[in-house]
Amino acid sequence: MNIIKDYIFEENKLNFNKIEDIIAESSGPSIDLSDLYMQYTTVESWTCEDGIVKSGSQHIDSGYGIRSISNEKTGFSYGNNFNFNEIMKAAKLSKSIIKSNSSQSLNLKEYSDFEKLYISESPLASVTDDQKVNFLREINKYIKGKDERVEQVIINLSSSFDSIFVANSLGTYSFDDRPLVRFNVMVILKSGDRVERGSAGGGGRYTYPMLLDTKRPYELADEAIRIADVNLTSEPCKAGNTTVVLGSGWPGVLLHEAVGHGLEGDFNRKKTSNFSDLIGQKVASDLCTVIDDGTIKDRRGSLSIDDEGTPTAKNTLIENGILKGYMQDLMNAKLMDVKPTGNGRRESYAHLPMPRMTNTYMLGGTSEADEIIESVKDGIYAVNFSGGQVDITSGQFVFTASEAYKIESGKVTNAIKGMTLIGNGPDVLKKVSMVANDMKLDDGVGTCGKEGQSVPVGVGQPTLKIDDITVGGTEV
C-alpha cells in the first residue's frame, strides 16, 4: 500500500487533475522542469542499554516539496499541509524565481512498470512491538553470556517506511514504497585499565523477519565483541608513508569518499571536482573498475526509482582505470547534455534532489587475498573504518580505521590504534597494484552526507593493495 495514494490523496481531496494543475502552475515556457514530491515517512527505533530495553520512539514526517528549474536556476518551496490551495501557493512561490506568470497545461501519465527491488510493506508492522523488545533482550543476554569483560552493551533496532509520490512536467508520475531496516550493536570491553569499543551492524530494504529470523544478528554481535577484543591489544600506530592493504567489504567507504563524490554530476557540471573534464582519460590503475548500482535487490543503497522518478541503473563509472561517466540527476544531465543515470536523490521532501551515490563498489580482480598480504614486507592491513571525509576540489580524503593491523614480512601481526589514512583520490587509485577476487558488499549500515543531506548508501570492494599512502598515528 502507498500511504500517499491510499490516504493523503483521499484525506485532502487530491486527484490527478489537481496534481496536473499544480505541475502546470509550477511550470511554464521558460521552465525546463518542475516537479512535485510528496512523502509520508514513519521511523521507529528501539534501544537496549544496561540490559534494559529502555527507549523506544516513533516519528512521523510528511510533506511535499515543489521545485521549478530554469537553466541553472532552481526555485523550491515545501510544506507539511497537503491542502490543494497550500500546494498551489508553494507552486507559485517556487516558480517566482523566474519572473514570468505564464503557465503550461499538461497531461500526466503514470509510470509504474519499473522493476520493484524491495517489498512494498512496512517493516514497523512486520513483527509485534513485543517481539522487537524480546529480540533485543535476547541479543543482550547472548553478548553478556559470551564475554565476562563486557562493560557496556548498546543494541539498537530501527526501521522506516517511506511512501513517496513524484510527478513532473515531463509528463509522468510514479509511486514508490521504501522499507528500510537497521540493526546495530556496540560493545565496550574492559581488561585491566584498558577499555575499547567494537561495533557492528547490518540491514537492508526489507521487513524485520528477513533479519530477525536469521543468525545474522548473532554473527554481528560476535563481530562487535571480536573488534573490541582486537583493539584491547592494539598498539599506537607509526606515522609516515607506507603500503596499505584494505580488506574487502566496508573499506569500500574509502572508494565512496575518494572517488565517488568527485564523480557526481553537479560538481562536474560546475567543474569544481578534480575529476572534471576527464571522461575517457586514465584516472586509476588498470585494475580498477568502479560501479554505482542502484538495482541490487533488497540493498540499503538501492531504489526502484530515484527521487525524480528515473529508474535506477548499474552505471560504470571507471572501467579498467578509464573514467567512463558521472552520476546524474535530471537537472545536471540536461545541463551536461547526457542521460540521467537514476542518481537523483533527496533526504526528504524538504530538501532539493541532487546527484547521489546508491551502492558503489569496485569489481574483483584476479589475485588471492592471502597473496596480497604475503607480498607486503612492511605495511598495514586495514579492515574496518569508522568514517571519512573528502574535499572534492583538491581530491584530498581522510579515513579513520577502527580495526587495523601491522603487516610484517608478509604476515598480519599486532593490531594498531588511532590510524588515519590521508591521500588524494586519483593519486591513490593510480597506486592500486593488486586487487583480489573477493569482492564483497558491506553489511548495510552506510549513510552518506552531502550538503547537509543524509541518504542511505551501500559500499563494497575486494581486498586491494595501495603501494604508498600517508598514515597518521602518534608514533614517529
Binding site: 527507549s55 516519528h59 512521523i60 515545501y78 577499555v195 588515519t420
Partner: protein
Amino acid sequence: MSATFHETTDKLKNIIDGLDNKREYEFHFNSTDGADVTSRFGDVENIQYHNDESLTVTCIDGKRKGVASTNNLSDESIKLTIEKSKTIASFLETDEHQGLAKDNLINQLNIDCDINFPKTFSSDQLIDMTVECEKAALDYDKRINNSEGSEYGYSQSNNLILNSHGAVGSYSSTSYTLSCVVIAEENGLKERDYAYTTRRNFEQTESAQAIGKLSAKKVISRLGAKSISTRKCPVILTPELSVGLFSSFLSAINGNNIYKKNSFLSEYLNKQVFASHINITEKPDIKEGLGTKPFDSEGVKTSEKNIIEGGVLNTFLLDTYSASQLKSKSTGNSGYTNILIESSKKMLNDLIESVDEGILVTEMMGSGANMLTGDYSRGAFGYLIEKGKISYPVTNFTIASNMIDMFKNIEEIGNDYYMNSKIKCGSVMIKDMTIGGN
C-alpha cells in the same frame, strides 16, 4: 511570535492539562520559517523557502519512556501521537532512572532573551547580498576561477516546552547566515575554501564584501601547498578548529556519555584536565548569543557555571536521566548554551610569533576523535611556521595525539575569538603533536 505559534501553544497547554495523571507527559514543539538563496557567477541559482513544525511527545508510564513525534499538528494527529507514545512506553522495560524533569522548571511563556531580531527581506535583497559577496571574492585575484557560490539564509524559530510537572516555557530566536565558497587554481592544482558569518541579529553580521574577500584570501593562501615530513612539533589550531576540539571536550563530559562509561573523561571529575591557566564557563544569557537559551530541552532553567576552573573539571553536564544514573541533580544541561574558553595567562595577540618551528592548522578532516579512549588522529591542512613567521602552506599530513595530552598541553590561547559558534574561544597552541607526512 506568530499568531499560529500562540494558537498552538494554547492548544497544546489545554491538551496536556487534560491528560491522565497516572503518567508523566512532556510536549516539545518547534516551528521554523525562513529562506535560503544561493547565487553563482552573478546570478541567482537557488531560492528555497522553509516552513517546518514538529511536535515531540514523551510519555513516562511507570518508569518506562516512550517517545513519538509528528509534523502534522491537526487535533487528530496530536491525539494519535500521544497514544503512540503511551503504547511504546507500555512495551518497554522498567528503568528506575526514567522520569521527567521536576526541579528548577521554567514557568514563563514568550521569554525575551535578546536573541530574536525578526526582519523581512524581498528575494531580490537576498540575491543582491549573495551576488555582492561572491563578486568581492571573484574580483580579489585572477587565480580564483571557479565558485560554488554565495549563500544567504535566515530563519526564525519558536520553541515551546510543556510537562506535567509544571514546566511551561517558550522563546523565539532568529538566525542570519552568509557564506561564500570559491575555488582557485594554479599549475593545474585546485583548492577550495570558504568563509561565513552567522549571527542572531542581521545588523551584526559581517558585510557581504568582508565575507567574499575573506573566502578569497583563504583560498589564495592555500595555493602551492607542499607536503611535509613526519615529525613532532607544536601545533596552533585556528579559533574555528579550537571550537571543534572544545566541543569534543563538552561531549566527553556529557552525563549520558559518563554513565555509559563511553568517555575518556569519565574518571576526571574534580581532577586536572587542562593546564591550570584555563577556565571554561557556561553563560546561558548572553545578549545575541548563538547558544543563549532560558531553559534546556527538558524545561529546566539554564544557569551560569564554571565547568573548568584552573584546569580542574568542576562538573559534568547532566540532564535529568544521566543525573539519576550518577546519583546527582540535573545541571540544566540537556544540551549546553554559550561556552566561554578563557585563559588566566595574558592572551596572546599573535601566537605564531611565539613559535620557532611548528604548524598552524587551518583545516581538519575526518572523524578521528575517539571519545572512549581519547585517541585523536585527523587529516589536516595548514601552514609551516618557521622562526615566528608563516613560511608556506602544507597539505597531505595528519596530526595525532590523545585528547588527554592535548588538553594538558594547551600552552596558550589567543584573543582572536571566533564569533560563529556558541563556543567562544581563540586560537590554541598545543605544545606537542605528531605530524604524519612523507
